[in-house]
Amino acid sequence: MRRSLLAFGLFALLTSKVFAADYVVDTTGAHASINFKIQHLGYSWLTGRFNTFDGKFSYDPVKPEASTISVNINTDSVDSNHAERDKHIRSEDFLYVKKYPTANFVSTKVESLGGERLKIFGNLTLHGITKPIIIMAEKIGEGKDPWGGYRAGFSGTTRIAMADYGIMTNLGPASTHVELMLNLEGVKQ
């Protein structure tokens, strides 16, 4: 009896180490953001973000390659702090949110680069087009929060060409690519 209990405890301890934990991105408390930046005329960076999205990931610090992540974005929540520009970004010229109300990223493979750095391969669907991308990510930290939960947070960046996603509006030679910066804190389920 004693032995089986011990074995059970050991098993539980092992499994919690071996099997990745599932996290839900904390959008309720807004400890996550999906930001973008694009050059304006080649003279400066224009930044913006998507206010409405959700995501989940599984992560095991011992076996980071087993991690998976998926993120859904409501494209009409684009916010660059300028109503007229946002209206334009939502229009047919750019995101065409009426036709393509969501964008999403689903990972296909994760490579550990040592330390807390990860290379996340996956497919980004945007403007109705799905293309493989690579997100260079880094774990910022993980641990217990003060309210009884457990959290892990990551930061990642990638760069996409608008033309790859069928967004052909010409913003000039310096503004053909958009950089995406994701900060995602997940709460362990």
């Binding site: 109503a83 007229e84 209206k87 010409n170």
Partner: protein
């Protein structure tokens, strides 16, 4: 003759009318053209700036115009009962459409608390975001009402031509000249 009479429009009313006509048609053309401008067009920022500036001045002009109109008599409409009724309804609608165009346009540009710069002369402040999707919804309203306004204005012009060429009455002429017209019929 500054003021209107029961037969004739005074010159201020005539000026208000034609000035408004030119601005409304010009604003429609400008708006229609500017929404498709290329990002690198020299007009990309100036055209909307003028469109917004003129729009705000037009609403001031229209407010003055209505104040002037209600402060005095207007020439009697010419035509049968339903023509008179129809003309009245169309005129009120034209005024309403001009005001709705102003409000919808204003709501697009001020949805993020930014005010509207009028010819670098003064800024009309934003009253903030009043509803969800304000810029998009107001934009659609602005677009469809613009077509409605131009459609109704065209009907208004056709009706004036009908009065002039078919009925041979003074409806059009009294909006063009101060010369006292002879009584018709």
């Amino acid at each position: 003759m500054l003021r209107n009479s029961s037969q004739q429009y005074g010159w201020l009313s005539i000026l208000f009318h034609w000035f408004s006509a030119v601005i409304v048609i010009g604003m429609f053309a400008l708006g229609w053209w500017m929404v498709d401008l290329n990002y690198y067009s020299p007009w990309y920022t100036d055209a909307p700036h003028y469109h917004k500036s003129v729009g705000i001045l037009l609403i001031a002009l229209t407010t003055a115009r209505i104040a002037w109109k209600v402060s005095q008599t207007s020439p009697e409409a010419i035509g049968n009962k339903w023509e008179k009724k129809g003309a009245k309804v169309a005129h009120v609608l034209l005024y309403l459409l001009i005001f709705t165009m102003f409000f919808s346009g204003y709501l697009i540009s001020t949805a993020d608390n930014r005010g509207i710069e009028v010819f670098n002369w003064f800024t009309l402040d934003s009253i903030g975001r009043l509803f969800e999707d304000q810029a998009d919804t107001a934009g659609l309203v602005h677009e469809y009402l613009a077509y409605t306004l131009i459609g109704l204005a065209s009907l208004h012009a056709l009706a004036a031509f009908k009065h002039h060429f078919i009925n041979n009455d003074t409806t059009l002429v009294r909006m063009l000249t101060l010369k006292q017209q002879k009584e018709q019929k």
